[in-house]
């Protein structure tokens, strides 16, 4: 194909990426485009690199369904994300963790050396993988230019093409990955561009698959049938049962992909650092596996088609590109080429960004601080320097990858990827252990990771160096230093297992053993213990972390402010400090707590710029921290939790009080309205008729009485509630009091024409009671019944299992079931309700409830058979 077309199309694709990223950044000022579970899930598909795009077909064509293993692992692991990743995301948000080195270092007492270790190993493990992507891009470029693909690709032209790609991707990553100092802000442009690339590569792969399956062949069955005829299929799909290690190999490779999908720097960047909302995980848990299966549907058909119709000299990794080229279908070939470009560039961009942040925050800045290089900086140039270092780190990572590219010649795509998988798997014990095992220590983690990496290097890197002629082949055949059980591919005599699974088995075994062993036999520092508590219990009380001021020592606000000024401008620092002051007054912090809160606050702000490990180092340079014992830590946590609970209760009581006052005022306004209006009429109309005048005056008086009654009731209730109310308890006969109450209402009942039925217990009912108060409750029940009854009222008393019962029933409309408890609350209607309560039941029932409660009795209302029953019970044992 014409090289100019390919170059122009590639260039246009990359320009499109820039435009999309730029647009997303611009748009983010008003609305974030990446705040969606779908974009999140797509951004995770950065997992599918050129290795998926080209390598899967290659692997399928040589060893059958093995290629699926690295998708099986993530699919199985996805539901576990809800437990593991939700915890990590929560921790990362609270402690400003932005990369895997920060995560491990922070868990194990914010250890700087552990951060350095993880950073170095991540770079070692991932740079070859980036180089692999560069190789894939340039190879695909060479193939699409030279349609015959039979000539070996000139490594010089490979390197030249890779060079331009590195430059463009470097510019992209610097431009969109180092836009801001604040790590807390998401890289909207990059995430959006990556999500786009994920869609693009999926479509490209599916189009290629459909083209091969349905246009070159007659559908799936046609390909399989023809492959079967030539015995390709049976050869590929045959599972070698004589091979006993096979299930173990499968298990190990799936396991490593399970860890890789979470802990590869680029995956962690997308899953955790760029996560906008932990709820997005819920959808990603099924969307991401779905994506993986979609992109794999056509792998086997393409592999078979390649074997059936292409020249055997063509590398199987290139089948997907070579097939449309062989058919002279240049549009599809170009689309496939761009899909591969998308897969590779997304991986390179995100990995480079993630590694550069690790290098900056966990290696370069700590070294600069330790070596006191920062003394040469002007105070206001720090922020600028941090950004310079990040940019330099990006260039460094890409340069290393480019350098590495010149070493790798004929390595298949899959194996280098898997070497990376085994490398990042070394972080899994320390991370997962750190989330669930409080006793795990930094020493255990350090030695575990270190040993794991030594074994990884010995079993996987050494053989590569041997094949490049750097070391003698003797090591492979006779063992290291001639010791027979130190052969890189048959360590300790474990033979017959393929190198990747073999390496994972031994590296993780050493790693886990050292991690557990050294954790048990080493002691945690107080800082480590704090972090262990926080990590393990983050879902339980992670949000209380801000209030857990577990810190003691000397710190001066001025020193901390001076630190902040190096990264933020003066007005911003002043504003932040003002906000801090306000909050500490609001939360009533004592001086020691305030100091602790200030240190944490400063650390958090700094962590936004330089990561939590470096931030801690910087803060530690101006404050003196004292060691706290485990008991002291627990005591502080407990105290702060109790205080929080107490505050909540107070706030609730305060709210109730406010509501009560506002309702009382409201209730007083109603009679006041009539009084004012009627008095004005009386005053403005001296010529009113006597009868009307009397009527108005009478109403004014009765409304005044109503107000007085209300005020008395409020005072009464207040006395009960504050416990000042004194009751005079005597031996009283309940029926006598009931009869007395009925006597008071006898005339009213007659006048209103109600039918009254009274059924009293035949024997005397003796209770210990305040006579007047009990009468008050009975009268209250009766007056309510009189207000709401249609025609009938029933009054009843009886004794049942040691309890005296009294009830008043009426045939009125009754109380809605959802308000049955509320009507015993003082003024049960809340401010926001517009439906008025039945009149007169305002405080009477609330007071009745208090009175009955003082008598150790129960009070309530029941509705049945169209009657409403108000009742109370009293104990009869005197």
């Amino acid at each position: 194909m014409n090289w100019a077309i390919v170059i122009i199309v590639s260039f246009l694709y990359l320009v499109l990426l820039f435009i999309l990223a730029f647009w997303a950044e611009k748009k983010a000022e008003s609305r974030s485009l990446i705040n969606s579970p779908y974009v999140y899930a797509l951004s995770l598909a950065v997992y599918c690199t050129a290795w998926t795009f080209y390598g899967s077909v290659g692997r399928a064509a040589t060893s059958g369904v093995d290629f699926l293993l690295i998708y099986v692992g993530p699919t199985i692991a996805a539901p576990l994300w809800w437990f593991i990743l939700r915890k990590i995301i929560r921790i990362a948000k609270v402690q400003n963790i932005s990369n895997i080195a920060d995560l491990i270092a922070t868990r194990y007492g914010k250890s700087i050396s552990l951060g350095v270790l993880v950073t170095l190993f991540s770079v070692l493990g991932v740079v070859p993988y980036i180089a692999l992507q560069l190789k894939a891009i340039s190879e695909s470029f060479a193939i699409i230019l030279d349609e015959h693909t039979t000539q070996p690709i000139q490594s010089a032209s490979l390197m030249a093409y890779a060079f331009y790609i590195v430059i463009v991707l470097g510019i992209f990553t610097v431009l969109f990955g180092t836009r801001q100092l604040d790590l807390n802000r998401k890289n909207e442009g990059i995430v959006f561009a990556i999500a786009f690339e994920s869609i693009f590569k999926l479509i490209a792969f599916l189009v290629a698959g459909i083209f091969v399956t349905f246009f070159m062949f007659d559908g799936f069955s046609d390909i399989f049938r023809r492959a079967n005829e030539q015995e390709i299929l049976s050869h590929l799909l045959k599972i070698d049962t004589s091979h006993l290690h096979k299930p173990l190999e499968w298990f190990l490779v799936s396991a490593s992909s399970m860890f890789a999908v979470m802990f590869l720097p680029r995956q962690f960047q997308m899953l955790v650092a760029e996560n906008k909302d932990e709820k997005h995980l819920q959808k990603a848990i099924w969307l991401f596996p779905l994506y993986l299966w979609l992109i794999n549907i056509f792998v086997i058909p393409i592999a078979l088609a390649g074997k059936l119709s292409l020249n055997t000299s063509i590398d199987a990794d290139a089948y997907i590109l070579a097939l449309p080229l062989a058919q002279k279908n240049f549009v599809i070939a170009l689309l496939v080429y761009l899909g591969g470009l998308a897969a590779a560039t997304s991986m390179v961009i995100v990995s480079t960004m993630a590694l550069s942040l690790m290098l900056t925050n966990n290696l370069f800045i700590p070294i600069a601080l330790r070596a006191k290089l920062t003394n040469y900086l002007k105070d206001d140039s720090w922020a600028k320097w941090v950004l310079y270092i990040r940019r330099l780190s990006i260039i460094l990572v890409l340069a290393l990858a480019y350098l590495y590219l010149s070493f790798i010649t004929n390595v298949s795509l899959v194996s280098i990827g898997l070497v990376s998988f085994v490398a990042v798997s070394q972080f899994a014990p320390s991370i997962i252990g750190g989330l669930y095992w409080k006793e795990a220590t930094g020493r255990g983690a350090t030695l575990g990771i270190l040993l794991g990496f030594i074994v990884w290097g010995f079993t996987l890197v050494l053989p590569v160096l041997v094949s490049n002629g750097i070391f003698s082949k003797q090591i492979l055949t006779h063992g290291f230093l001639g010791i027979s059980w130190l052969k890189p591919h048959q360590l300790f005599g474990l033979d017959g297992i393929e190198p990747i699974a073999h390496a994972l088995f031994w590296s993780l075994s050493f790693n886990i053993l050292a991690y557990i062993g050294f954790s048990i036999f080493s002691v945690q520092s107080s800082q480590e213990r704090n972090q262990a508590e926080f990590f393990v219990d983050v879902l339980k009380h992670g949000d209380a972390y801000e209030n857990r001021l577990v810190w003691r020592g000397t710190a001066h606000q001025k020193d901390l402010e001076n630190l902040l000024i190096r990264f933020l401008d003066m007005p911003r620092v002043e504003k932040l400090m003002e906000g801090f002051e306000k909050r500490s007054i609001k939360n009533t912090l004592n001086p020691q707590e305030k100091k602790a809160a200030l240190v944490r606050f400063a650390e958090r702000i700094l962590a936004n710029a330089i990561g939590s490990t470096s931030a801690r180092m910087l803060v530690a340079s101006v404050v003196q921290e004292e060691e706290l014992s485990k008991d002291e830590v627990l005591k502080i946590i407990q105290e702060s939790q109790e205080l929080k609970k107490l505050n909540l209760e107070l706030k609730k009581a305060d709210n109730q009080k406010n509501e009560f006052i506002s309702t009382v005022t409201h209730e007083l306004r109603t009679p006041l309205t009539s009084i004012r209006s009627l008095s004005e009429i009386l005053s403005d109309n001296p010529d009113l008729e006597e009868e009307e005048k009397q009527h108005f005056l009478h109403t004014v008086i009765s409304e005044t009485e109503r107000m007085e009654r209300l005020i008395n009731q409020v005072l009464d209730l207040e006395k009960f509630e504050s416990g000042k109310q004194k009751l005079i308890l005597n031996k009283q006969e309940l029926n006598t009091i009931i009869l007395e109450a009925l006597e008071i209402y006898r005339i009213v009942i007659q006048e209103k024409g109600f039918y009254l039925e009274v059924k009293l217990f035949q024997q005397e009912i003796w209770v210990k009671a305040d006579r007047d108060r009990l009468l008050q409750v009975i009268l209250n029940f009766l007056s309510n019944a009189l207000k709401f009854a249609e025609k009938n009222i029933w009054v009843e008393s009886f004794v049942e299992s040691g309890q005296a019962h009294f009830c008043v029933c009426d045939d009125g409309k009754g109380v809605p079931p959802n308000l049955e408890e509320a009507i015993f609350e003082k003024f049960f209607q809340a401010e926001n309700q517009n439906i008025r309560k039945p009149k007169g039941s305002g405080l009477g029932l609330a007071i009745s409830k208090k009175i009955i409660q003082y008598h150790q009795g129960l009070i309530g209302v029941k509705r049945s058979n169209h009657t409403t029953k108000f009742f109370f019970t009293l104990p009869t044992n005197l």
Binding site: T670, S674, S677, D684, F696, R836
Partner: protein
Amino acid sequence: MKVLIVDDEPNILLSLDFLMKKEGYEVFVARNGTEALESITENAPQLVLLDIMMPDVDGYEICSQIKQNPEKKDTKVIFMSAKSREVDIQKGYNLGADHYITKPFSNKQLIAKVKELLQ
């Protein structure tokens, strides 16, 4: 001119009934929301003095029914309520009320507003 007074407090009806009659309006009264809605259909008043908190249908509901009915939307509505929070008042106006007066009110001011709206 027909005026409907809606309130579940008989004594407020007593004074408003007197005041409106004295101004020469034809007066109808309703003691709850249901009665009010019936009276609006039946008597077609030009103005409704409307309480908010009532035992069955609340005043907001009645107001929005009036203002959403194409035939009734020219009926003037004055809320009179003890609810005096800004949100409650704003809600009243949002539903299309012509005025909102808080209890207790001055007779003179109320009459002036009624006259103004009925001109």
